[in-house]
Symmetry: C2
Subunit: 217 residues, 2 copies
DNA sequence: CCGCAATGTAAAAGCCCTTCACATGGGAAT
DNA sequence: ATTCCCATGTGAAGGGCTTTTACATTGCGG
C-alpha cells in the first residue's frame, strides 16, 4: 500500500486527474470491502486529496458509485459483444461463449458487478446510466434473436423472453455462487458448468438439437 | 406514523420488548429505504429508546440485520414448504406453486428478501444463520428429488443440480425484476409468467412431458 | 424485603458527509 | 509575456451515526 499521489507522480496543489483516480479508488475499495463499506472519504484519502475535493467531480457518494456502475456496464457490454461476436462461427458456440463471458465478468470484475447490480443504485439516477445498462441487454437480445431463428417458425418463442430467461439464469448463478466471497454459498461444481448445463437443458426444451458438444470439458 | 412506545403501550424506563421492536423497525426501514439506508439509530428512534439501547440486544448494526435475515429465512422456508406440500396433489402442480411462492415471498416481503440476499450479510456471521438458510434450500432440493424421480432412470440428472438451476433462475428473476423498486427493470410480462415459462421450457428440456397445463392463465 | 442482573440512559470520542469561504495555478485572451 | 478567470483543491465547521463507558432504573428470584 503506497500512499498519496499514485501513478501520476508528485502532484502539487492540483491532482490533475482526480476523477479517474476516484473511480479507481472506488473499484479497489468496493472489491475489498463491498459497496456498503466504501466511503467517500476513503476514496479521497486513497487519491491523496482532502475529503472535500471529490465534491468538485461528483455531487455525492452515490454519484460516484453510479459512475462506476455506468463504466461497468460499458465494459460489460464490450465483453459480451466480443464474446458473442455476432454469432460466429456458429450461433451455438457463440452463445456458449456469451454465457461464460457473463460469469467471467462477474468473477473478474466483482467491483464493477457489485456497483452494477448490488449497490442499489437507482437506474434513473442518471438517464445515461439506464441507457448504458440497456445496451448490455441489447447484446443478449440480439443473441436470443439469432438463437430463436434456428427454430422452426411454427410456435417459435419470443426472442425477448428467451433473452430474459438466459439473463435471469445467468445473473442468478452469478449472484448466488459467482464470486468467492465469504458471503456466497458453496457449490458442488464450478458455476460455469452449472450454467452450461442449465443452458443446454433449456435449449433442448426450446427444441434445439444438442448441436454443441456438452462435454468439451 | 405514530411515535415511540408502539403497540406495547406506555412504557416506563424499560421497553419490555425491545428486541422484537428493533426487528420490526428494521423491516419497516429496510422496506422503505433499502438495506443500505437503514441505520441503527433510526431503529432506536423508531422504538422510542436511546441510541445506545439496541446494543443490549445486538452486538452491532450488522448483527441486527443478520437476525432479520435469519427470521427471513425461517419465514421463507415455511412459505416454500407450505407451497410444496410434499408434492401434493401431484409433483408438477406442487412444483409450480413452489416457484410462484418464491416470487411471491420476494414481492410480499421485500425487506426480508433484501436482508437475506442483498444486504451483504456474511453467511457465517452466525452459524445459525447459515444453517437456517440451508433449510430453505432443503425444500427446493426435496422438490427437485421428486421431480427427477419422474424421469426414466437412465440418464437421470442429479437432483442437486436441478435444484440449483431452479433456484438460480428464480432468484435471478426475483432479483432483476422482482420488486416494483424504482431500481429495477421494466418487464413486458409479469415475473410470474416469465418464471413459469422458463420452468416449463427447462422441464421439457429435462424430458418431462408437459403434464401440467401451461395456459391455465 | 433485598440485592442482583438485565435493561435503558447520558455523555463522549471518533468517523463520515457535506457545505462554505478561501487558496492556487493552468490556460486562454490579449 | 502578462493578466485574469475559473476549475480544482483546502480547511474548518455543523450535523449525524456508531460504539463505548459509567451510571440509573427496575423486575424478579431468594
Amino acid at each position: 500500500m503506497t500512499w498519496g499521489r499514485r501513478g501520476s507522480g508528485e502532484r502539487g496543489y492540483h491532482h490533475g486527474n482526480l476523477k479517474e483516480a476516484l473511480v479507481r479508488a472506488a473499484l479497489e475499495l468496493i472489491a475489498e470491502k463491498g459497496p456498503a463499506g466504501f466511503t467517500f472519504a476513503d476514496a479521497a484519502r486513497w487519491a491523496g486529496v482532502s475529503p472535500a475535493a471529490p465534491y468538485r467531480h461528483y455531487r455525492d457518494r452515490d454519484a460516484l458509485i453510479a459512475d462506476v456502475a455506468k463504466r461497468g456496464f460499458e465494459a460489460f457490454t464490450a465483453a459480451l459483444a466480443k464474446a458473442w461476436d455476432d454469432g460466429r462461427p456458429d450461433v451455438m458456440a457463440a452463445f456458449d461463449r456469451l454465457g461464460k463471458s457473463y460469469l467471467d465478468f462477474a468473477k473478474r470484475e466483482p467491483a464493477y458487478y457489485s456497483a452494477m447490480f448490488e449497490a442499489g443504485v437507482p437506474l434513473d439516477a442518471d438517464p445515461q446510466l439506464r441507457e448504458t445498462s440497456e445496451r448490455a441487454f441489447v447484446v443478449l437480445r440480439a443473441a436470443a434473436e439469432k438463437l430463436v431463428a434456428l427454430l422452426p417458425a411454427k410456435g417459435r418463442p419470443p426472442a425477448l423472453m428467451v433473452a430474459l430467461h438466459i439473463w435471469s439464469m445467468t445473473h442468478g448463478i452469478a449472484s448466488l455462487f459467482g464470486r468467492g466471497d465469504a458471503a456466497r454459498r458453496a457449490l458442488p461444481m464450478p458455476p460455469e458448468e452449472l450454467l452450461e448445463a442449465a443452458v443446454l437443458i433449456y435449449l433442448r426444451g426450446l427444441g434445439l438439437n444438442e448441436g454443441v458438444a456438452s462435454g468439451r470439458s
